[in-house]
Amino acid sequence: MTRARLKRGGALLLLPLSVLPFVLIGPAMVDSHRQFERDKEAHALPTPRLAISPAERARWKPLPRFNGAVPVIAYEGVGEDGSRSVTHLQLARQLALLDALGYDAISIRQYSRWRRGEPAGMPQRPVLITFDGGRLSSFRTADRLLQRYGFRATIFVPTARISERDRALLTWKELHGMERSGRWDVQAEGTRGDERVVIGPDGAMGPAYAFRRYTESDGAETFAAWQARVTREVFDAREDLLAHGFEPLALSVPGGDYGRLASNDGHIAPQVRDLITTQFGVGFVRAPRNYPAYTKPAGDPARFDLGRTTTADDLYGWLRAKDPAR
């Protein structure tokens, strides 16, 4: 082959070769565009128009003042699909209810101090409002409402997934901005959130902290392996918060249970309770049938989960029914 032909062949190859940078950088550009689209839509949404009717006001009679117990409510998601997510309007109505009843939303620091028996400056009618999952949608829908009613909320974030820049979740930068606004506190929901693990050969699933994990190759993990996994998980969640400048005060236990309600090893629950207490102080759990009592300084604090079917009247009913002053 002559040199001319070689040159010709080389020149011909240049065309497809010149596409390479686009092929190599293209995916990053697409990702960058998706991130841009996500960031563009990351601002807080305006509050929906709503008015509390005279009939509602008549139904929602004032409740007794603080009497040594604090109600804690939890939102899994807002404005998303699924039964565990409330709509934007539902959230607005529920917060309007709390405002109408004279509740003041307390910070996680106040709550933590109160749990430890330290002076916390509790208002007349305290409530702790929490959001799980670290979702962007929770911030977008709730922020203006919190501002409107002068409330504050605590958002629990899966720390590892936040670091992985899951586009559905908030970023560390956004979380800092939220905390600076004075309307939000940031705490951990483990490192991976509401993660469940396989607990038996039939494929049954359970909360990650509450069960020894089952794998087909090794069967159920040993207690030592479970201990290493969960300890590392709790330590990592704490370290992640500290590394990003947040004080670890509370943990939303992934799956809402650390083995208290169900487990495949009786040693698990006391181990996790100690672990959470030493690393975070407070570990929020889910109550059986989702009808918990108000939280007190002692015992596991259980939250009232609000979902798609929960109305403002349901929330009022729970607040009224579980109020220890009544």
Binding site: T2, R3, P21
Partner: protein, 524 residues
């Protein structure tokens, strides 16, 4: 002849050597016979000769003789080629069917690239709210480049109006004894009526044999007039003296390191068919393309700068720089400002370089200026990094000075043309800031990642220029990739010269040439 009887060669090569070396058949004839390009024939002959040299056994006495003959033929062929390329414009390249297919492929690729860039910019237009500086810069750059391409597609070279005005080619020279004779002779070879063409060679006080070389040419050719300065007065003075020495209606300037294609002058003057046109800029290709990687990059750069940028300017009759390589002026357009131009001063010092851009500005105020893509000259460009950087610095200094001047009156021209001119002035000033911010500041201190978007944007721009060369050049070859390389070379080395050029704008040294009158004055 031993070379062609070497049995180790393949029959094709043997036949080729036999035909071209022994029987004296020209490459063109062989090419026609076998349906190939003359260049391919020459390449193949060179390959065959090298093969002869490699195949021969050193111990063999006959082989040594073969090698000696082959090496002599190779050396003679190369010397002849060098001589030909220096004395005259290189032959016009032509393409075959494969070239056409590849060029069409490149055209499709270029169109796709432009559409993709526009779509991308449109998709990110809301980034203006997030990062106004970078986004606005990106949009302006994109708009500028895309409009240059679009306008250049609309561009049509001036038609042949049958004009044959009296033309004087002014060629100033200072200490160019080696090139001046060849340059003058090449001018005499242009296809233009003898009685309507004169060549004014001005010796600017050379201390070598330049004047003698000029007189040697003039002795054989009455169309050549020689003006000799007793001392070095500077290039502008030499050019002005040449202008004053002639009564020709059109005055053309050709750099002493440029050669013209035979029909270049005839084509160039057709631009003056419009009585409002005061100057016409010819096209310049690179003469010494194959000399180094730098000249290859400049080949693409020149091609795009003329075929895209000047063509785009030309559709509004506002070419902002008639290249010194080859341009022509209407006499009445330059005479009113000739003295000012000759003695131009800037910030208290005499302007010694940027004569072409300055003269263009003198004419552009009141006249139209066009570009003729088919009036082609070939110019030798710097082949080493040092020479090139000095030349670019000089150009940037004159660009700084003349941008301030053109900015004062270009707003009276077509709005699209004036906006493009102002944008063309602002972008090089902003570009270094954007580069530092994007490549250094943001990744290190601003929380930004690797500047992939910026890198890909530069690559897309570079690829656009390279592909344009591939599309418009008759023969598809690898040279276009050097255009891509040039954009990154510009980013790495030339971008930063702008500020330095502005700070040293009063400097009058040419850098790439021996000191001339202006620089002596400045030094004094």
């Amino acid at each position: 002849m031993a070379v062609v009887s070497d049995r180790a060669l393949d029959p094709g090569s043997r036949a080729l050597l036999d035909l071209t070396l022994r029987q004296g058949v020209s490459d063109e004839q062989v090419a026609k016979l076998v349906g190939a390009e003359p260049d391919d024939i020459a390449d193949r002959r060179a390959d065959a000769l090298e093969e002869v040299i490699e195949l021969a056994e050193p111990a063999d006495g006959e082989a040594e003789r073969v090698i000696a003959v082959a090496e002599r033929i190779l050396a003679e062929a190369r010397a002849a080629e060098d001589e030909r390329s220096e004395a005259a414009a290189p032959p016009r390249t032509t393409g075959n069917a494969l070239d056409l297919v590849l060029r069409l492929l490149a055209a499709g690729y270029l169109a796709l690239l432009l559409v993709a860039v526009i779509v991308y910019k449109a998709a990110f237009v809301e980034m203006l709210m997030v990062d106004p500086l970078l986004t606005a810069y990106g949009l302006v750059v994109c708009g500028y480049i895309v409009t240059r391409f679009v306008f250049s597609m609309v561009y049509r070279a001036p038609r042949d109006a049958g004009l044959e005005p009296r033309v004087a080619i002014v060629m100033p020279a200072f200490n160019e004894e080696e090139a001046i004779g060849r340059s003058l002779r090449s001018l005499l070879q242009v296809d233009y009526p003898h009685e309507k063409l004169e060549i004014v060679a001005v010796d600017d006080g050379s201390t070598d044999q330049t004047l003698a070389a000029m007189r040697a040419v003039a002795a054989d050719e009455p169309r050549v007039r020689v003006i000799a300065f007793g001392r070095n007065l500077g290039k502008r003075a030499a050019m002005a003296a040449g202008i004053r020495a002639t009564e020709a209606e059109v005055i053309a300037f050709v750099d002493s390191d440029s050669v013209l294609e035979p029909d270049a002058l005839r084509k160039l003057v057709q631009g003056f068919a419009d009585p409002k046109v005061g100057a016409v800029c010819g096209h310049a290709d690179v003469l010494n393309v194959g000399q180094s990687w730098l000249t290859r990059m400049q080949a693409v750069r020149y091609f795009v700068a003329f075929r895209v940028v000047k063509a785009a300017e030309s559709i509004f009759n506002t070419v902002t720089c008639c290249s010194g390589c080859f341009s022509a002026y209407r006499r009445e357009a330059i005479l009113p400002r000739l003295e000012w131009w000759e003695n131009q001063r800037f910030l208290g010092v005499q302007s010694t370089f940027g004569d072409d851009r300055s003269l263009t500005n003198c004419v552009l105020r009141d006249w139209r200026i066009k570009y003729h893509a088919n009036a082609v000259s070939h110019t030798a460009v710097p082949a080493t990094f040092h020479q090139f950087m000095r030349q670019q610095l000089r150009w940037k200094r004159s660009w700084t000075r003349e941008s301030l001047i053109v900015g004062r009156f270009v707003w009276r021209k077509n709005p699209l043309a004036s906006i493009a001119t102002y944008v063309g002035v602002v972008l090089p000033l902003v570009a270094p800031v954007i580069c530092v911010r994007t490549v250094v500041w943001q990744p290190l201190f601003g929380g930004g990642g690797v500047p992939l978007v910026y890198a890909l944007g530069v690559y897309a721009m570079a690829l656009g220029y390279g592909l344009y060369y591939a599309v418009r050049h008759p023969r598809y070859d690898h040279l276009w990739i050097f255009g891509v390389g040039f954009c990154f070379f510009y980013l790495a080395f030339l971008l930063w010269q702008t500020y330095f050029a502005m700070l040293t704008v009063r400097t009058t040294s040419w850098g790439t040439r021996p000191a001339t009158a202006g620089s002596h004055e400045a030094a004094a």
